[in-house]
Symmetry: C2
Subunit: 668 residues, 2 copies
């Protein structure tokens, strides 16, 4: 058995830390933290013993990311319990008390909700309901690093709040965890009954929670008193059966199981586990316990004193020990090979950029086994199916659940994998909060949205990505690539793989002609410039006023622009078309240079007016004080409808004809 | 019993219509439509009889919205089954065959997925997993119109696909429907096993679906063959027990119930119902039935011929009858009174705009009983709690499930209510896809996001709305209001209530001084102009170059701008500060006029660089060719962290000091 006296001492210390740090910070969530003290203290610090104690195992010298693939992972999905998180690491001896007292201060990495800045957090949390998805991603990644079935692998622990279980994303993660038989995933639900403003829908109804999780294919362990260390310890011991039964120790574990009399090992071994614990919000301080009106409120100084009096004598020097991993994983080599053969698309051939994306992903999969793909049940439209067919073990069908897909992709990246997640551009909006949160997790995410714009045609507006550029632009450090032909789509996919960060690749449903040869190069912040064919660009560009307009476009509208350019040239109107395949960052230098000579700028894009390429260019013009004469922004200004791609491009006035008209307008 | 021969005839016609219309359109989803033919034909056209047949009741002359509150509602959540939808209305005699053959054509309102343009659809569908939430909203609205318990009320029917049940939003709707005891909500799940690219997670495992829905508190009826009209009819008859048991007919129904031997009326009466039907994708055409690879594909002409041969003789003149509602609801008067007393905030008092929003909502609730409020368990932070406390029956706690909140709000608006839905601005991103879709439903939605920007302080970046303006701007016909003080927040809330549309109100956590008197007026597209105090604005504005800079700001940064203005004035630097409380549409006229005189423009906002007020102003400058000299955009350019509001405004360089520096920079 565990040393419960020691655990009790640690719990006291952690309560002391929670209360004093939040009062010092004058903000924070002590009551939310207090309810999970016994749960997390037991997970972290229960000592090793034959029954499988010493649950959470990690090398705190290499706490996260790919530094230590042997570690168990822990995700604090209820990120507002950050005082608990930091106090646990204080009790583990890796955060000093003075550091802890810097909670929420401007220079401290102990933020109100944990972000990538916290040394021991893989992912930021604080937008509720996302942590389990991150755990799913990590559990999948661990499985992928240990393909041998029933081998002993690290576990992933996720602390859930009960309020956040109202988030649909939690159920997306729940269903996918059982679908993928993630028996290395152990969730801990801190069921303290009280949300921020009211009681949760289920209160302390553990039985209903149990039914729900069981119906979704989980192994459920209930704890009727989440503050009873012996009961909590027993629950964690049971949760390890999953893990142990897969190990060489299965025999000894089996006897433990038999003694409980209720565990069917064969059934247990392929299920994720949840510990449902009835707890009390504010536990340990009589005037906070189970009280409404105390969410997110620290104790004023005078109340803190009474609270500490209740706590009694605290051993401020008590320290717990987090065990080192016993598992020695085959060291996973980080692969850095992204070199793939040039694509062999015939110039002029009609190929959709989404197809070329599929080709490139497949080629990348061949040279780098860290590339993985996820899709929200659209793989035959996004063409991630090419990869899925060749590398089924590295393809994760996420079904129609985009929120979970986003955070799962983030989670798997924390094991060193490079995830490409795709669906229709329109449906990526389903994962905006998840993308927003990912930016606080130092992400390496490659998101691919197909079927952008009205050019998808007859499926109608619900299927058209018309806000997607805006969405990705608004994320601070994102990169947006939008290829117009198969060659650039292929090569930009490779560019995405090579560099860490949050990337978005926008692809088309519609086929477009190949316009770039296999040796063309594409880079972040680059562009391609197309001059009217009848002139010699080298000589002309130096003279002013030779060109009537600079047309900036990408994707489908680039081809419309090239059509317009050809037609205009016949009429003696010369234009330059800039393919801004790198929407963010934009090729500032080229546009700067070109607008020195060309005073009429036309942006044409298959996107709603706000937040897209137009805004990007307008920003550039005003911020860099480009001296232009006329600016025209052609984009989707009417609510679209069903129709053929050509009809819709015409209806929205973003086709060649509209461009010609716009050029003639500014020229005159 | 129903006339099954007639229903069979109608099913045949509808199959014929589905196949011919999609082949004619050369795109669309026939197989998805075919699986639900018996289900929906029975719902629509089974004839009245003593056992409760004639299920779906509606007056097709007044098909949607508030025109007919007596109608049952139907939501086709699987919107890609639109050929089925349109064929049903063809069979009902309100769409002609030539009209049907216009499916997906540019001038037809029969779009690829239904939008507001379709006369018989309350809400657009096509982004999967949203329809049940819309149904929840409608069912809540109906309940609100009929507060008397157990009165006979219209039902809401929602056709769900099985693939879409992977969407977390579905489970958000499922849990809230049972929480609110929506026994007037009847879902029909078309479990055809096949998604777009692969089998669903549960395939035909009806038993597991049943367990899940039961665990979530639903009444479940299973149909092992969704193409057996007698079985489908029996299922719908059972689903009416809920409804009937609440009616005066309860006695007669009770006997029916007793004869089935398994129905507990007391239990049934407060639960929503789902009919889980095992169906076959592509049913009726041997070479399509249960086949992968046929999702979203119409039959080529030659295959259509074989398919029609299989169908056999079709009675093209067969028509079904949708029964008129038997229920006569107390006519709900549409209230148009929005006139509330002026707010009595003392000038200079420190009041958060979120609080003033709460005051205004409360006041509106008093004068107009069509005002309802929803919140994602943040009501004590957003201050919707003021309304909730006074009007508990018109307040809907949506718990932490933002996606469902958005679509539920849309749904309830279709019963004539004016929903205000609030949570933290940051978490509104959770509902982007739902907002995006709402724009195709002719929405009347008032969304309120509190806790915007870094000025929230120590909670950290996960809680900061920094992409919210961008998100709402990207929606085509949205209106964005962003008040800086309590008076304007109060008055703009009233403005939102008065006009239909998709509105966003951005409120602050932080208290700000009241700067506007109770008689000031605020309007969509308006602004307030603050001149340096030491001059007489009327005389000065006509002379050029008297002002060194125009500072455009809103919310917290408006106050920073006013502080800067005061400080600068002391140093002899004159500025004009424009409070652009109407971010979209912007007060183009005032900015136009002011920039005729003032050549340095500074925008300062508590938002990330892209998509916010800066982009809006930059757009205006380039599009209207405003001739300015310098443009400076102060905004959140670094990933924020925890800290005090003041520290963070300084860290991001959007405080008074930074503004002063920026003005001095451009001035020199």
């Amino acid at each position: 058995m565990a040393d419960f006296e020691k655990l009790k001492k640690l719990c006291k210390l952690i309560r002391y830390d929670i209360l004093t740090s939040t009062t010092e910070a004058k903000s924070g969530h002590p009551t939310t933290s207090l309810s999970a003290v016994e749960l997390m203290t037991t997970l972290f610090f229960a000592e090793s013993n034959s029954a499988g104690g010493g649950f959470f195992k990690a090398d705190l010298a290499h706490p996260k990311g790919v530094q230590s693939l042997n570690n168990d992972r822990v995700v604090f999905s209820k990120g507002h319990a950050s005082p608990l998180i930091y106090s646990l690491y204080h009790a583990a001896g890796v955060i000093s008390y003075p550091e802890l007292m810097q909670l929420r201060k401007i220079n401290s990495d102990l933020e109100g909700h944990p972000t990538f800045r916290f040394k021991y957090a893989d992912v930021a949390t604080g937008s509720l309901g996302q942590g389990l998805s991150a755990g799913v991603g990590m559990a999948l990644g661990i499985k992928l690093l240990h393909p041998k079935p029933y081998s002993l692998t690290p576990n992933v622990y996720v602390l859930l709040g009960d309020s956040e279980m109202a988030e649909g994303q939690v159920w997306e993660a729940v269903q996918i965890a059982s679908h993928y038989k993630l028996n290395n995933l152990i969730a801990i639900a801190d069921i303290n009954r009280l949300g921020q403003s009211t009681e949760t829908m289920l209160g302390w109804d553990l039985e209903t929670y149990k039914k729900r999780f069981e119906a979704f294919g989980w192994n459920v362990i209930t704890v009727d008193d989440g503050h009873d260390l012996a009961k909590v310890y027993e629950a964690f011991s049971q949760s390890q059966l999953n893990q142990s039964s897969r190990s060489s120790r299965s025999e000894s574990v089996k006897s433990v199981t038999d003694s409980t009399g209720s565990t069917d090992l064969t059934d247990l071994t392929d299920k994720p586990t949840i510990i449902l614990a009835r707890t009390i919000k504010g536990k340990g301080v009589s005037f906070l316990e189970n009280k409404e009106g105390w969410h997110g409120k620290p104790l004023p100084k005078e109340m803190l004193e009474s609270a500490l009096k209740e706590l009694g004598k605290v051993d401020l020097k008590a320290r717990g020990k987090i065990e080192l991993p016993k598992i020695q994983i085959t060291k996973s080599k980080i692969q850095t090979n992204y070199k793939i053969q040039n694509p062999k698309y015939e110039m002029g051939a009609s190929i959709a950029t989404r197809l070329a994306y599929g080709d490139a992903l497949l080629a990348l999969g061949d040279v780098n086994d860290k590339i993985v793909a996820l899709d929200a049940e659209m793989s035959n439209s996004t063409y991630s199916e090419k990869f899925a067919k060749k590398f089924p073990e590295r393809y994760f069908e996420m079904f129609i659940a985009e929120q979970n897909m986003m955070t799962t992709a983030l989670g798997i990246s924390k094991l060193g994998f490079i995830p490409f997640a795709s669906t229709f551009a329109a449906f990526l909006t389903r994962g905006f909060d998840q993308l927003r949160m990912a930016q606080y997790s130092a992400p390496n995410l490659k998101i691919v949205g197909s079927h952008c714009g009205v050019s998808i045609g007859p499926d109608g507006p619900s299927q058209m990505g018309l806000e997607d550029i805006s969405m990705f632009r608004s994320i601070l450090n994102s990169i947006i690539l939008y290829p117009a032909d198969a060659t650039s789509a292929f090569k930009l996919t490779q560019v995405m793989a090579e560099k860490d960060g949050l990337f978005y690749l926008r692809t088309n449903r519609k086929e477009t002609p190949v316009i770039y040869g296999e040796k063309e190069e594409f880079k972040i912040g680059g562009s391609k410039i197309h001059y009217s064919k009848i002139r010699n660009p080298k000589s002309v560009i130096k003279k002013s006023n030779n060109f009537n307009a600079l047309i900036i476009a990408a994707g489908v509208t680039l081809h419309e622009s090239l059509k317009a350019q050809k037609e205009l040239a016949k009429q003696g109107v010369e234009t330059v078309v800039l393919d801004c395949y790198s929407v963010k960052p934009l090729d500032v230098q080229s546009i700067n240079r070109l607008t020195k000579e060309i005073k009429n700028v036309i942006v044409v894009e298959d996107h709603y007016p706000a937040g897209g390429i137009g805004d990007t260019v307008a920003d550039l013009i005003v911020n860099c004080k480009l001296k232009i004469k006329n600016y025209t922004h052609l984009c989707v200004r009417k609510l679209p409808r069903s129709g053929s791609p050509e009809e819709l491009l015409a209806y929205e006035e973003i086709n060649a004809e509209a461009i010609i008209k716009a050029v003639k307008n500014v020229k005159s």
